[in-house]
């Protein structure tokens, strides 16, 4: 397998490589930094765009087999019919056209950190000076007896947005009036910590209108969760008696599931579900594991100032796959990607890396006109090197706010989502 030639490369990626604005002459190509980004989710896409802003002449290649990305953010709305997948779906044309990012529609199958080359599913090899790996999270099919590749079709997780979202929506719709919809929450860390509780809320909103005798049961491996008081206040106010949660200390951790009998066994007992939504235990995406970027936790240890892997040189890991100390959220992925882009530009220029700053913001919708939020501004502690809150820049929506306030937050959430999508992909 040969390295991709410039001519062959242009044929492979189509028009993007022909952009004169970002093209490099053959003679100078050897000195042009080559950055390869694997994965086109919130982290990878933001990184590619913001690296272009910091390095106008770098050769930036995005390796992503899919033509478009489906956002997990707002996909709970799709499950209950408040939205569709269409506004959550975005292509990579803007990154290619406006930012000169070459989009290679292949999977990355291996990394050679010594020769600094990525092997693609086509067998072609892509050389790099810096590699950025953003494969997201993968489900652990081996962690919960009864939940595996086969039974996942019967018990859709819908923790990747797309077909699974539609499958879960169909199951909720087909649920009888009077059954229980069970959501199981894995041990932290997992993608989007408040999302299981947003999903439970929207299940309850949907069921109250269409199947009012139905209930929602959360079987939770964890003791507490983000925005807990705000969620519980909302459940009591909007759907009294419909949502029950069993925390880890009361036997909430799921031990096994039977997809045929539609039963879940937890420490607290055996529960029958008309709908069972297993949110599975998670780890860093397959490529990160295969490339030796993960430690015993299943996630990738990184330096939060640069997102450089602590295990493999010249490789940086972004987004959910990274164990940076940031929450596994879309906004953290976006924020971390910008910090990494500026840091890598400075490393190429031989300049010192400056102190990072990250905002994590997350809204959860409990009903169409009722949302709650959480936000934190993070920096890095100069002594420990760990992610820490800056000053007092962390908090949530207030408890006890009016319905008008929650409606304003629902409008804030819509504006936040549109800006996040455009800041990442356009």
């Amino acid at each position: 397998m040969t390295e991709i030639t410039r001519r062959g490369f242009a044929a492979l990626v189509g028009g993007a490589a022909a952009l004169p604005l970002f093209g490099t002459s053959f003679a100078s190509a050897a000195r042009t930094p080559r950055v390869v980004v694997i994965g086109g989710g919130f982290a990878g896409a933001t990184f590619a765009k913001y690296l272009r802003r910091a390095m106008p002449t770098a050769r930036i290649t995005l390796v992503e087999p899919k033509k478009s990305y489906v956002s997990c953010v707002y996909s709970n709305e799709v499950v209950v019919g408040l939205s569709t997948l269409k506004p959550l779906t975005v292509g990579y044309a803007a990154l290619a056209e406006a930012y000169g990012i070459r989009h290679v529609r292949r999977s990355a199958v291996a990394i050679d950190p010594v020769a600094r080359r990525v092997t693609l599913s086509s067998g072609d090899k892509l050389p790099y000076d810096k590699l950025v790996v953003a494969p997201g999270m993968a489900y652990r099919y081996d962690a919960l007896p009864g939940w595996n590749e086969e039974t996942a079709a019967l018990l859709p997780a819908a923790w990747h947005a797309g077909p699974e979202t539609t499958q879960l929506a169909a199951r909720l719709k087909a649920m009888p009036n009077g059954g229980t919809a069970i959501i199981t929450v894995p041990p932290a860390p997992y993608r989007c910590p408040p999302a299981p509780y947003e999903r439970a809320s929207l299940f309850a909103w949907y069921l109250k209108r269409t199947k009012p005798a139905a209930k929602v049961l959360i079987l939770d491996a964890n003791e507490t969760f983000p925005k807990q008081a705000l969620f519980e206040e909302g459940w009591a106010k909007l759907f009294p008696g419909m949502v029950t949660r069993i925390p880890g200390s009361k036997g909430g951790a799921v031990q096994s599931v039977d997809a045929v009998a539609m039963r879940v066994v937890a420490g607290a007992g055996s529960f029958s579900g008309a709908v069972i939504n297993i949110i599975p235990p998670q780890r860093a995406g397959d490529l990160a594991t295969a490339a030796g970027l993960t430690d015993q936790t299943g996630w990738c240890p990184v330096d939060p100032r640069t997102f450089a892997s602590k295990l493999v040189p010249d490789v940086h890991v972004l987004g959910d796959a990274a164990a940076s100390g940031l929450p596994k959220s879309a906004t953290s992925a976006n924020a971390g990607a910008k910090v990494a882009a500026l840091a890598i530009a400075k490393l190429f220029a031989g300049r010192p890396v400056t102190d990072p700053l990250f905002i994590n913001t997350c809204y959860s919708r409990l009903a169409p006109d009722y949302a709650i939020g959480i936000a934190s501004v993070f920096g890095v502690d100069p002594v420990s090197g760990a992610i820490v809150v800056r000053n007092t820049g962390t908090g949530t929506s207030p408890l006890g706010a009016s319905l008008g306030y929650r409606k304003e937050e629902a409008e804030d959430a819509d504006k936040w989502f549109r800006a996040l999508m455009s800041d990442t992909f356009a």
Binding site: K49, Y50, A54, T331, N334, A335, K338, V339, L342, T354, D355, P356, L357, F358, I359, T361, G373, I374, A375, S376, V377, F378, G379, V380, D381, P382, S384, A386, I387, V388, V389, R390, N391, T392, G393, T394, G395, T396, S397, P398, Y405, E408, E409, D412, K415, W416, R418, A419, L420, S422, D423, A426
Partner: protein, 97 residues
């Protein structure tokens, strides 16, 4: 005080910003998740920051920081920046069109 307690409850340590050496691009780019790239939000979005008068930006951020009822989540976020950082962002966005 409530915010500090919350931060501790979340298990996160708290650091001051007085000696942070953060590039103004990092400060300004952090706003983009809600206010759009370069402070230019999509249609029907939150406030446009690009081209905002520097004094107005500083004033807004101080009000948000000091009055928790002022700007919903933005009041929380405003607390994460030092006065010097707010002034640096104000000058940065004022020059963008």
């Amino acid at each position: 005080m409530r915010r500090v307690c919350l931060a501790l409850a979340l298990g996160a340590a708290v650091v001051g910003t007085a000696h942070a050496d953060t590039d103004v691009r990092t400060l300004a780019d952090s706003c983009a998740i809600c206010h759009g790239t370069d402070g230019k939000p999509p249609r029907d979005g939150l406030d446009r920051l690009a081209g905002m008068r520097s004094s107005e930006f500083v004033e807004e951020m101080r009000e948000l920081r000091d009055d928790p009822d002022e700007g919903r989540l933005m009041s929380v976020i405003a607390r994460g920046y030092s006065d010097a950082e707010i002034r640096a962002m104000a000058d940065y966005f004022a020059k963008l069109r």
